[in-house]
Structures are given as C-alpha cells and as structure tokens.
Symmetry: C2
Amino acid sequence: MSLWDPRAVVATKRDGKALDAGEVAAFVEGYTRGEVTDALAAAFLMACLLRGLDPDETLALTRAMVASGDTVRFADLGAPTVDKHSTGGVSDGVTLVFAPIAAAMGLAVAKLSGRGLGHTGGTLDKLESIPGLRTDLSPQEIERQVADVGCAVAAQSPSLVPADGALYALRDATATVPSVPLIAASVMSKKLAVETDLILLDVKAGSGAFMKTPEEAAALARACLDLARGWDRRAVAAVTDMSQPLGDAVGNALEVAEAMTVLRGDVGGRLRELALAFAARAAGELLGLSPGEAAARAARAIDSGEALERFRRMVEAQGGDGRVVDDAWAILPRAKAIFPLTSDRDGVLASVDAERIGLASGALGAGRIRKGDAIDPAVGIVLHPKVGDRLEAGARVGEIHAGTEASAAGAAADVLAALTVTEGPVEPPPLVHGWLDGLD
Amino acid sequence: MSLWDPRAVVATKRDGKALDAGEVAAFVEGYTRGEVTDALAAAFLMACLLRGLDPDETLALTRAMVASGDTVRFADLGAPTVDKHSTGGVSDGVTLVFAPIAAAMGLAVAKLSGRGLGHTGGTLDKLESIPGLRTDLSPQEIERQVADVGCAVAAQSPSLVPADGALYALRDATATVPSVPLIAASVMSKKLAVETDLILLDVKAGSGAFMKTPEEAAALARACLDLARGWDRRAVAAVTDMSQPLGDAVGNALEVAEAMTVLRGDVGGRLRELALAFAARAAGELLGLSPGEAAARAARAIDSGEALERFRRMVEAQGGDGRVVDDAWAILPRAKAIFPLTSDRDGVLASVDAERIGLASGALGAGRIRKGDAIDPAVGIVLHPKVGDRLEAGARVGEIHAGTEASAAGAAADVLAALTVTEGPVEPPPLVHGWLDGLD
C-alpha cells in the first residue's frame, strides 16, 4: 500500500491551489497504471476545468501525458521537418493540400493523426476513401516515405501518449471537455511526442469550430504555444475562420476530390488560400525565405504541377491508386444518389451555421458518433456559396450525396436552414484572424 | 437506448446554471440504477461542490436520495416521536444520555444510526461494547421496544436511502466531501426517510468537528433546516462546541461507562448539560412545556433514577446485560493495559486539538479507517481537564486504555501534544453557540 493519497492532489486543485509538477506527474502516472480510479480522475478533471490550470501546471500535465508512452524521433530526413494540426472544422481539407505543397517546397511533412470523433471524418478517413490507401505505417515506413516523397500522413500508434487517449475518453464521458488547458495539453501532448523542427497549429474559430470566437481560439492557441515554448519546440499558430465551411465539399471522398481540384490549380478560394498560407509560413520559418518569396514558391508548387505529383506519389507509397489525381471520380467511391441543392431564398448570404452542416453530413453517414463506428466515404454535401455571395431562389447552390432520397431530403433541409440571408451587402469574414508565434 | 444524456445535467451544473428537480431526480435515479457511471457522478459531485447548489436543488437532491429506498413510518407509539442526529465529534456520547432522559420524560426516541467512518466509533459501536447488545432490530422490534421502553437505538437498514450510501462512498473516494449542500442532503435524507414528529440536530463546531467554526456549522445547520422545512418536517438545530472533547472519555466502552455516571447523577459537566439541553428542547417542542419547566423535568429524569432505568430496559430489550447501569466495569470489556496520563506542563489549558485526540484514540483501535474494519471496544483515552482548567506538571490528568504499552506511549504523547497551555486565565468556550429553528 502506498502512503501517497491521490485524493490529496484533487483536494488541492479543488481548493484552488496550484499543484507542483511532481503532484501532477504522480497523479497521471497513477491513472495510467490504474491506481487512480476513473471516478477520482473525473473529479480531478472537473476541478481542473472549474479552477483552471496555470501554465506551469498545464506543462506538467502535458509532460506527464507524453511520458505515459513512446516518443518518435525520425532519422535525418534530409530536410527540415514540419507537423501540422487543426483543431477541427467543417470542410477542413487543409492538410491534404498543404502536405504536398510543403513537400514540393523542400520540407519534410511527417503528420501523425489520431482518429478522433467528429461529425465529419478526420484526415485519415478522407485519405482512406482512396481505394487501397493505408495509414497504418510503421515508423520506418514513414521515414522512408518522407525521405522519398517529402510527405506522409499516417495513423498515430496506440503507444503514443496513451494517457491522452484514456483521459480524452474520460473527458468525453464526464462533460469535462471544454477547458482550454485540458484541450491544449491533449493537442500538444501528441505534437510534442513527435520530434519535428516546426509545429503549425490551425486553431479554428466560428460556428463550425469548438471555439466559437476568435478570442477563445486565440486563448487556446496561446496555451498551446506556451507548451511548445516550455518544451523548447518551435511552433506557430494561426487563428482561422470557421464561421462557414472552409471549402465547398463536406464529406470524405468529396473533400479528396476538392483537394485535387485545388492541387491542379483549377480553383481558387479559401481552401487554396489557407493551405498556401501555412506552406508559405512553414517555408519562411524553416528555409529562411521572405514572406513574399515563400508565398510565390508555394503558389509555384501548385502551378508547376509539382504538388499534385507529390500527392500522387504519397498516395502510391501508401498503397493507394495514384490515378486519383488525374480523374478523381474514376477512382473515388460515388454516392448512390446525388441530388441538386437549390436555394429557397433570394438575398445575400450573411452567415452559416457550419456545425449544422457538419452534423447534416454526419447524419448522411460521413462521420462517426462512437469510436469504431463505420463511415460511408461517398456521402456528403457540396455547398458553393460563401458569406457575402448572392443567392437566388431556385438556383442551384450545391449537391447532396446520399445513400437514399429520404436522407438527402433531410440533409438538404438542414443545409438550407443553416443559411441566413439578408438584403444588404455583407463583408466576407477574414480568412486568417491572426498569427501567433511560439517564441514571442 | 435512452435519448436522455446524463452528461447534459453535469454540463449545466458545470456551467453554473441551476438544475430543475426533474434533472436532479433523473440523474440520481440513473446513478442508482447503474446507468450513470461513477466517473460521471464524480464529475457531477465536484461541479456541485465548486458551483454550489441552491436550496431548491439541494431539496431535489435530497428527495431523489430518499426516493432511492424505503421509508419508515412507525405505528402509533403512544407518544410524540423524536430523532436526534449529531454531525460528529470527539467524546460525543450525547445520544446515550439523551435517549433515556427523553424517554423518561414521555417522548418516544426512535433513532436509526448509520455505521459511519470515523476515528472514534459511532453510537452503534459504543452500545455494542455492552456484551450481548444487538442493534440490527426489525421495524417491528423497534416499534415494540419504543412503545414499551420509550427509546431504541438501532442500525438503519441498507434499504434506507441506498443512494446516500453509494454517493457518500463515492464522495469519500473522490475528494468531494466538503460541500455544505452535499453534507446537508446526506444527513437529512436519512432523517427525512424516517417519519418522526421532531428532528433534533447537533451541529458540532471546532477542532474536533468537520466544521471548524460556529459560522460554518451554522451554515450547515441552516441548510439542513431548509430541507426539513421543504419537507414540512419540524426540526431544530443547535450549533455546539467541539473545540475540545465533550466528555472526558474517548473510546467505546469508556464512553458508555461515562454515560452511566452521568445518568446516575454522579457527575456534572458538559456532556450532562448538553444532553439535558436537547431533552428539554425536545420536550418544549413536543409536550408544550416552558423552557424552565422542561429543564427541570429533564434534570428530574436523572435525579429520580428514571433515565437510568430506561437505559437499563433499553439495553435489556436489545439483548444486552442491563447490569451495566449498576457497575459498568463489571460488565464492559476492559483494556489490557491502563496507564496514567500526567501533564508535562504547568499552566492554564487554552485550547485542545480534539481531532488529534480522536485520531490518537483511533490509532489505539477505537475507530475504523475502512468500512468493515473491526474496532476494539475496550481501548481509548480519558482526559479530564477542560479549557480554562489549570494543569500542573506531574499531576494526573487522565488515562490511556490500550492493548500494549507501546501504543499507550504513542497515544499519551499525542494527547499531550494536542494541549496548548497559557499563563493567564482562559474563558471556557460556550457549550451551545446558538439554536436555530426549522420553522423560522
């Protein structure tokens, strides 16, 4: 029997006092070893949520979580390494576009993703809509692929930060998710466990994001950057708009297809702009390019076809059918029923309830409610108008890709209900609310 | 699968909003049925502790706890019924003295006790130090005994307020004990599940009590009385001194023996005074006596020997050896080793760390740390001086009743370390800080 009573740690936080690093580490270790019960850990999480954690406590929590599992250190990949993480949004295909652009610019993109819950699939789910593609790469496979191709997007191993997996599931089960320090520790533990030269954070703000305002998103970004600084890791964060879906496509194969149009240079728009902005920022940080030069090189990676080629090679290296870049819909699964979506109103699009659109896509089968749920890669929503665009009643604004006509009708009604129109002109929201630098 | 998500209840309280009675009831029912996990309930308890519960929420919680089990309604016992509860202290033998006095005055005392945790035993443990005495009485046995003798002290059935048992164990395990509304709901659920005409609450304040100040104790008393009022039950509470052990004896058989000396009228002091005060208050409430008349009748119950006789008959009705009232130490178990306790200092006793004395008695074997631990009925501490008394170095101040010389030495050192002396005169603390009336 241990003389140490983990209840004392909970009582200290409950009473609003700061914990020292040793107390936090002992508590997390005890939880990982099964000596601290789920109930005591849940009381701890609620106390942390309501009393807060200061930067030192948050760092200690993150360190303890990283220490619960393996860490990844890649062999020399011949190029500076970059990892990118988005806090999640609707039609957030940035990684699919960013990774091959950055690779084409001479960076090594080694991205390990978790397979989180969400109304829309995660990056792994999107990639896996490409027939044959696998994401369960070994560290050696990742190293070889990144050295050859410049980018790899793979599933993180269960031995990476197991305490985060356990604590996240417990938070989901106990209404203790919405805490900035707990979210920051969860996000950053998985980034800090993988050694890269730069961490890029895309912290979303708006109706389709967990953080509803740019101010809340900035607070989360700062908490994440504080952790990177405490770890002596270079990181930058952008607070970006999620007040509407970023691209036009919401769904797994649909978002891959849209990424292909962006990588081919066929379309402009906010998805392209944001992926270019992250690639340029990474090149500026890691290759010493000026902002103007970095932006020009990023655009050139698309225009030259080099980024598209990197994507093809990444898909092929991971066992997928590389012809997806030539003719996406010859390769990707197609929904049984595709219905046009027409506007029921005249006016200027003033705002979008992006979460509602994400949920509508999830209801079609594109996301999962419980861990392990199967998803349908083919279904989803395409919605073209962005805030500030004019709608005309009866005009086509997109498509519903569904398994049945009934589910399509439900999704169409949800999408239209998620749109608010007005008479006057509407200024589009900024795409990037601001950048925060980790070594400020 | 239920559409109701109990996490929403926790999220509401987490966000500082009030719960309605239906939400509280559904949550407690869900916990009792095993649909709400310990982890989610622990998060709920921590949110309640940190966000607070208003009187309506506390009443709803108490109602839901009572509804989790059976309730007790005695047949007509021929006299007004009274229940008494103490929040717990050191050398708190009030029930042992109060019950037979009240019975002698024509009241029916039906007291159901839980077998709580504590450094010193509870009332059931004390009574069970009398050879043969049993406390597992059926409701019919209790009714018959109260009708015959006027008093019964029995163990509450496990079917009475099972939600309290489960929630209390969870609070103990998750550092969520110190919350006034949660304590009040726990205390009062067990009192409200048993129908009596009056509930007497002894809310202790001081170094030997959970509430360290009279103000904190008064807040708990008010929360308990609010619940009684919400239930339309008559209740009165006294905030009483626990800044030092109430009587001289700390231990199970030792406290029974001390109660016998009080019931015989051999000694005065604070234990006698407080038991008389509660009996007089109960008689005033239930028999319509004036305070002066009630006090005189209570004292007469001792002086006439009638209270002692009631105690004998109660013990015999419960299977115990009634000769304990004639010669306690001929009947009660005696410790192997009894050591004199002598003062190591000259001065006036200024304060006592009563909890430390309770813990020292517990370390001798008089209390239990875990549910189900065995206790030694014979061991304990006798300490005569009260705050304001003069100590002389080398003079005998009490005794240690122990199993071994080594444990006695440890207890003696602890008791002396718990005493603070000063030079000047010290005013003794008031015995009763104040009375609060439930129907104010």
